[in-house]
Structure formats: structure tokens, C-alpha cells
């Protein structure tokens, strides 16, 4: 029983495999579209890399695009500034400490419970009872009490004036409203019993790690949305999503709330070329960056010079051109200059490996032999960079940067992890470098900067720099000052300090990308990069 005669079928199969793999791949399923059943029924099925998770809007585990559909805040942040949402109007007392809101009277929670001042108080109190968790939102540290004045009037009393209060009240979480019937023992911090908000969509069905179905809220105070059904389908990013889009199993994809695109630009372009899809990109919304842990004294990353050298060795032009196909532009500063208060003169650190090497040499990191890892006092110049394993562009950038750093004698280990694990690392300081992004128009600069002092965010990033205490004092000051000129000066100081310390190493300015069916109208963006106004979309006939 030898194997002599096996060979002919084996060779045949091999040929077959080769043939199928090689043959006309270019048309790759262009004709696989003829029954786009999802488009026919006018629903949106979007691909997402992770489950919607616990939708409790007073905590942070849930998916923000999903929460944004179901829950609403008192006010809305728009391009033209703060606009009414659940509150019709508001007054701010002269000392800036008391905010009085008049609520809309025609609003009901999705379980039929009326939305009134009492509900607002219960929600705000529930959030404040867990204030530690929300320390990144400075309002949570300054909100003294919430008082019901009458059925539809509510007043918020602050301990001191705080200029971004309305902006923070407009955010997707935590100051949004859940039906008090869903509270557990009057609280929300250890879980809720349901997810009834006031928003245009309600959660109809959820199968963990498979899908979640949102149905239109026919009683929505702003009018029932045109698209009656939105499904969020969990799909691994990359080719699975691409295929599913091509086949019409999903018909919508967008940049997720951690800034990762489920498709790389080439695949997106291919989908558009095939004719069934359109690609819509928002204005630049954020800055994608590498965050350096300045407080990690055991690693060289805590040295300003090393961080500067890394900054100089990143070729942003090439990243923008080749990895992002020009869809993102190189970023030289933490905030682009069109952001309020961010138009500050900062020295540009151009891409130059020579310059980087020079800085390292001066800092005492010597190259023993060419091509080797630099050392100082017997320590190797080595560090780790964490990236989101769902984002192929982050991985490619990480590999690209790894190579550049190797050229200047820094050994970079790159590690892909789940986005939640990376968020955990950011909070605990267990990292040298990690990918991150500023939080978008609604949050920049005030929330991102406030987050410099928050343990859950960038405390570890900033606390190692020399003038940290002074920096934190200025950050506290800038949030409460009512003098516009002083505010500008303080922001300029803060931005200059973190720029000089090179703790936030900018890479590109990112935007939100939407891949949607060709016949979908009304695609627009919000001021936050974390949610989309689905209620404004409709299908052309």
C-alpha cells in the first residue's frame, strides 16, 4: 500500500486550486449584486466590529453609535453651537453657576413613561452617584445639585462657573436620559433593566455577538424617522465586511467609535466603482496620534528627547499618501489650527531620521555599532506600541513606524489588542506607546485637555512631564475662567507645554467615513465622531 499512484489526483487538485485562485479576480463579484434585498426593504444593516454591549448610557461599555440612536441629551452640539434638544430653552445665571432648563412637554420615554423634570433629576443624580467614573467630564466634579422647579423646569447648580457645561451636557454619555423604570434600586451604576430612551430608535432585539435590531420610535417627538429598521451586525473588520457589503448582507459601514475603519481605502474605492455604493467622508474631525507614557520612568519613553526623536522619525507624508490613499492629511500638532483656541504658534518637527539620530546621540543614547539598538548605561532603547487589532491601518502604520525607528536604533515591539484592552492600558499606565485619537469637534479641545488630568484617560501620559503640576493648575483654571482673553492665553500655554514635551505625537487628521447604498439620501455627520444621525437618512425611490 504505497502512495505511488496518488500523485495524479493531487496534482490535479493543486492545479484546480491555482486556477480558481488566479482566474479573473478583477470582476470579483461585481455581478453578485443583482438581488440587493436589503435595499429593497429600505432598511440599514451596518457592519460593526464589536457587539453593542451593555447599552447603559451612564456607563462606558456600550457602543456609542448605538447609544446615540436611543438616548438623547438636554442640548445638542451643532456646527452653529449649542442648540435645544430635550430642553426647549435655558437660562444661565449671571454668576455662571445656575443653569435653568425648560423641558419639551411632548416627550415620552420609549416605555411610555413621561419625560419630565423628575426624570431628569433621577438620571442626573444616578450619574452623580457614580461621579468617580465620570471624572474625565469635569462637569461631574462641579455639579452640586439638580432641583425640580416644576414639572417641566429643572435647575442645575454648579459649585463654580464652568464654561463647557453645556457642551458636556450635549455629549453622547453620560448626561442622557433613561426611563426611570429601568433603574435598579434607583441607580444605574451597577446595571439597568432595560434601555428605554427618548431617541428616534429603540432597541428591539439583541443577540450578543451576532446582531442588534433597532426599530423606529413611531412616537418620536421629532417625528418618526424615515428608515424604520436599523440592524447592527457584528462582523470582523476587513475582508469579511467587504464581502458582506458586496453581497448585500450588510449595506452600510462607517468608522467606529474607536476610530477604526472596517475597510481599508482600496476596498472602499472598489465598492464605489462597482456602482452600488457611495462613499461619504466628513470634514477632518480628529487627530490620530501616538500617545507616549511620560510617567513610565522605567522606560526610555519617559525622556522628552526620545519622544522628540520618535516624532521626527515618523514619515507622515508617506502614511497619508500610501496607507490612507490621501484620505487623511498629515498632522503636525495635537489639534489642527481650525479648532477653537488651538491656533497657536508651535514649532514644527519635520520628518528627518538624521535629526532624530542627532537628538538621541545628544541625549546619551549611543549606537554601539551601526544597525544595533542604542543603549545608555547598559539599558536598551526598546519600547512597546499597542494598536487596535481591528484596525488594519493602525497595524500597517505600526509596522511602518517600527521600521523607521529601527533605522534610528530604537527597538519597537508592536502588539495588537482589543480596543477595550487598550483603553484599560491607557487608564492603568501599562504602556509605553499606544495609538489614540482626539475626541472630535464637540470635545476638542476642552474635553480632550480636561482628560489630561483624568486617570481614566491621559493622566499617565502627562504626569511624567516636568511642569505637570503647573500644567494641571492651568487646565483647572482654563475651565472656570470667564475671561475670554485669559482663556486663550491659558490654552496656548497648555498646548505649548504638551507640544514641547512631545507626549502626543500626531500622525494624521482623521475623518468619519461612511459607505452607504447609492440610493441613500441625507447622510450627514454630527459634531462628534461617535454617532451618526440615522434619523435624517432616507432612501430615494
Amino acid at each position: 500500500m504505497t502512495v505511488k499512484k496518488y500523485m495524479s489526483p493531487v496534482i490535479f487538485l493543486l492545479m484546480l486550486a491555482l486556477l480558481t485562485a488566479c482566474s479573473d479576480n478583477t470582476e470579483g463579484g461585481g455581478e453578485a449584486q443583482d438581488d440587493n434585498s436589503t435595499a429593497a426593504t429600505k432598511e440599514i444593516i451596518y457592519a460593526t466590529a464589536k457587539d453593542i454591549n451593555d447599552m447603559n448610557p451612564h456607563l462606558y461599555a456600550g457602543s456609542m453609535p448605538a447609544q446615540g440612536k436611543v438616548f438623547e441629551s438636554l442640548v445638542e452640539n451643532t456646527e452653529e453651537g449649542i442648540k435645544p434638544l430635550l430642553a426647549e430653552s435655558w437660562d444661565i445665571s449671571e454668576d455662571g453657576k445656575v443653569y435653568t432648563f425648560t423641558l419639551r412637554e411632548d416627550v415620552e420615554f420609549q416605555d411610555g413613561e413621561p419625560f419630565n423634570a423628575e426624570a431628569v433629576k433621577k438620571n442626573l443624580d444616578a450619574v452623580q452617584n457614580n461621579a468617580d467614573t465620570h471624572s474625565w467630564i469635569k462637569l461631574s466634579t462641579k455639579l452640586e445639585s439638580t432641583n425640580v422647579l416644576d414639572d417641566h423646569t429643572v435647575e442645575l447648580v454648579l459649585t463654580e462657573p464652568y464654561y463647557p457645561a453645556l457642551v458636556e451636557l450635549s455629549m453622547t454619555r453620560p448626561y442622557v436620559f433613561l426611563s426611570p423604570n429601568d433603574f435598579m434600586d434607583g441607580e444605574t451604576k451597577s446595571g439597568v433593566e432595560g434601555y428605554h430612551g427618548t431617541g428616534p430608535y429603540k432597541l428591539a432585539e439583541h443577540k450578543t455577538d451576532e446582531y442588534a435590531v433597532f426599530e423606529a420610535n413611531e412616537n418620536y417627538w421629532g417625528g418618526a424617522p424615515a428608515i424604520k429598521k436599523i440592524t447592527s451586525k457584528v462582523l470582523p473588520a476587513g475582508e469579511t465586511t467587504f464581502l458582506a457589503l458586496q453581497k448585500g448582507e450588510v449595506n452600510f459601514a462607517f468608522t467606529d467609535d474607536r476610530g477604526a475603519d472596517s475597510l481599508e481605502s482600496e476596498s472602499m474605492n472598489q465598492l464605489v466603482e462597482e456602482g452600488e455604493y457611495q462613499l461619504v467622508r466628513s470634514e477632518p474631525m480628529n487627530t490620530k496620534m501616538i500617545v507616549a507614557n511620560s510617567s513610565r520612568t522605567e522606560n526610555a519613553v519617559s525622556e522628552t528627547e526620545v519622544r522628540e526623536a520618535i516624532w521626527h522619525s515618523i514619515d507622515r507624508e508617506t502614511i497619508s499618501r500610501d496607507i490612507f490613499d490621501g484620505t487623511e492629511t498629515p498632522a503636525e500638532t495635537l489639534f489642527s489650527s481650525n479648532i477653537q483656541y488651538a491656533d497657536v504658534e508651535l514649532k514644527k518637527r519635520e520628518y528627518s531620521l538624521e535629526k532624530a539620530k542627532e537628538i538621541l546621540d545628544q541625549a546619551g543614547w549611543k549606537e554601539q555599532q551601526s544597525g544595533a539598538v542604542r543603549t545608555k548605561n547598559g539599558n536598551e532603547l526598546a519600547m512597546q506600541l499597542f494598536y487596535d487589532n481591528a484596525s488594519s491601518s493602525q497595524k500597517t502604520q505600526a509596522e511602518f513606524i517600527q521600521y523607521s525607528l529601527q533605522e534610528i536604533g530604537i527597538q519597537l515591539e508592536i502588539i495588537g489588542e482589543e480596543s477595550t484592552s487598550i483603553a484599560n492600558r491607557r487608564a492603568t499606565g501599562e504602556y509605553d506607546l499606544l495609538f489614540n485619537q482626539t475626541w472630535g469637534l464637540a470635545y476638542d479641545p476642552q474635553s480632550t485637555i480636561a482628560a489630561f488630568t483624568s486617570d481614566a484617560s491621559y493622566l499617565h501620559t502627562t504626569s511624567g512631564i516636568e511642569q505637570a503640576d503647573e500644567l494641571y493648575k492651568k487646565i483647572d483654571e482654563v475651565m472656570v475662567t470667564t475671561d475670554e482673553n485669559k482663556r486663550e492665553d491659558l490654552y496656548a500655554d497648555i498646548l505649548t507645554t504638551v507640544h514641547n514635551e512631545a507626549v502626543f505625537i500626531p500622525i494624521t487628521n482623521g475623518s468619519v467615513t461612511v459607505v452607504a447604498p447609492d440610493n441613500l439620501n441625507g447622510i450627514s455627520f454630527k459634531q462628534t465622531q461617535f454617532e451618526l444621525p440615522f434619523e435624517q437618512m432616507n432612501f430615494k425611490d
Partner: protein
């Protein structure tokens, strides 16, 4: 020697050994054979098609795919081979101990084996990666932890069988040292069994390690590994399917070679087996069950 002779007569076995030999040589002298630095990034060549200079084209960072394929032999094949070697060594040592001396040692070793074997291979590997973190060496550690028990068990069985042979028994009588008996008489006899098992599990190990790398749990950048190359190619699978081809075929060819070799070895070493000579039910059952569990 006879084994090699037998093997020579079997063309497929012969061909397989040549493929394996060439692969190993390519891997050992990879820097010499690789036309370019496998980690040389060149963004202007991103996804460049095959050319005279870069025979298999370039990947998403403009690196030479051919060079990465060649350097990738090291983690994909050589390190797996090394892990296999270590687990065979441990397994052989313990298997000989247990099978030759019997008694308490035997019981203890076999209980240890049983315990290790209660963890399915994949699960054990995932557990170890989970605790120690992702990386090639952790998967190799997991492999060694799992496989030694199999080898110990199988080697023990064949030692038991051969220790009953008359001339081994005779050798014991005049007081020849145990070690000498094992080395001179038992080892050559059991060697063939070891070779067959080792070569047959090699194929599945290569597949598993590439699978883990494919999931992003294995080797970390910038090192090249075939499963990792497939993972990278998967991102653009439907826009550039040709990238899936080279690493995939490399795995298929090498794994096939190991599988065919193992089959030929089995025939060459134990002709009786293939002619379907009588074996007791129990015996055939136990070997078959083992063979299946090894995968």
C-alpha cells in the same frame, strides 16, 4: 539503513524527503538565499506586482514577498521542528523510564500524561497564550507541554512490547547496565516508531502554528511567518487575491511533504502494517485512537 533503502524505493517518499530537506536548507541559510532584506520597508513598492527584481511581488509595506517566504521557513517549519524535537526528547526519556522500569515510576509518569492529555491541544495553546501573551515562543511552549505526553505514552507502549523480546531479556541477565540495554537494544527498535509518530504530527503542528499566526496570536511583527503573511494578505483578499497564493501553497507543499513522508516511513518501517496483517482488536484500537487524538 534498511529504512532508508526502503524509502528510496518509494518515489513519493523520496520526493517528500527532498522537499523537506530543501526547505530546511533554505530556512537554515535563509539570509543567504533571500534576494532582499525581508524586513526592508519600501512604501513606494506597496503591493507592487511581481517583477524581475521581486519575483513574487511586494506586500503592504513594499517588502519582498519571496524573501519573507524564505525567512518565514524558520518560524513556520524550523522552530516547529525544534519544538517537536524537544517534546520527542522529553517524551522518549519519560517513555523509556516508564516502560523499562515499570512500577511506581510508570504509574506516576502515566498519570502525568493522562492529565496533560485531558486538555485538547488547541485549548491548551489558547490558555497559555492567554496567560503568557501572544507570541510564537508561547505557542511553542504550549506544543511542547502537550506533545511530550503523547510521545511518552506511545514510546512507553513500544518499549513495553520490545522489552519482552527474548534477546532483550537475555541481555538483562548477565548484568548489563540498564542504560546500555536501552541504548543498544531498545532505542534502535523503538526509533522507527518514534520517527513515524513524529513525522505524522509535524504536519498538523505546522498547520496549527500558522493558524494561530493567522489569528494574530502567533509571531509578532515585523517577523515573517507563513500564517502571518496569509493574515496580512487576507486584508486585501478580494482586491489582491494573488497575495494569498504563495504562502498558502508553501504551507500546503511542506505539510503534504511531511504527511506523505510519514506515510512512506510507516510502510518502509513496518511493511506488515500496510498489508493488513492481523492485529488484535485492542492494539489496533489503541493506536488508532492515539493517532486521532494527536491531530
Amino acid at each position: 539503513m534498511k529504512m532508508l533503502l526502503n524509502l528510496r524505493q518509494d518515489k513519493i517518499g523520496f520526493l517528500s524527503s527532498i522537499v523537506i530537506f530543501v526547505t530546511i536548507m533554505l530556512g537554515v541559510f535563509a539570509p543567504f538565499f533571500a534576494p532582499h532584506d525581508p524586513n526592508q520597508v519600501n512604501m513606494s513598492l506597496r503591493y507592487a506586482p511581481s517583477s524581475m527584481e521581486y519575483l513574487l511581488g511586494n506586500d503592504h509595506l513594499g517588502r519582498c514577498i519571496l524573501s519573507r517566504l524564505i525567512i518565514g521557513i524558520r518560524p513556520s517549519v524550523l522552530w516547529v521542528l525544534a519544538a517537536l524535537g524537544v517534546s520527542v526528547l522529553i517524551g522518549a526519556a519519560l517513555g523509556f523510564l516508564a516502560g523499562y522500569f515499570r512500577g511506581k515510576i510508570d504509574t506516576v509518569i502515566m498519570r502525568m500524561c493522562d492529565t496533560m492529555l485531558s486538555f485538547p491541544g488547541y485549548v491548551m495553546a489558547l490558555a497559555i497564550i492567554g496567560v503568557l501573551g501572544v507570541g510564537l515562543q508561547n505557542i511553542l511552549i504550549a506544543f511542547i507541554l502537550i506533545k511530550w505526553a503523547w510521545f511518552a505514552r506511545i514510546i512507553r507502549t513500544s518499549v513495553l512490547q520490545y522489552a519482552e523480546l527474548d534477546y532483550v531479556k537475555f541481555a538483562k541477565a548477565p548484568g548489563i547496565k540498564d542504560l546500555q540495554i536501552i541504548y543498544k537494544h531498545l532505542f534502535p527498535l523503538t526509533f522507527s516508531d518514534i520517527a513515524v509518530i513524529a513525522s505524522s504530527s509535524m504536519g498538523s503542528m505546522i498547520l496549527q502554528i500558522s493558524g494561530f499566526s493567522f489569528l494574530g496570536l502567533g509571531i509578532q511583527a515585523p517577523n515573517a511567518e507563513w500564517g502571518m503573511m496569509l493574515n496580512e494578505a487576507r486584508e486585501v483578499m478580494f482586491t489582491r487575491p494573488e497575495l494569498m497564493l504563495a504562502p498558502g501553497l508553501a504551507i500546503v507543499i511542506v505539510v503534504s511533504a511531511f504527511n506523505f513522508l510519514s506515510d512512506s516511513l510507516q510502510v518502509a518501517l513496518n511493511p506488515a502494517l500496510s498489508t493488513g496483517q492481523k492485529r488484535s482488536k485492542q492494539e489496533s484500537l489503541s493506536t488508532e485512537k492515539k493517532e486521532v487524538l494527536m491531530k
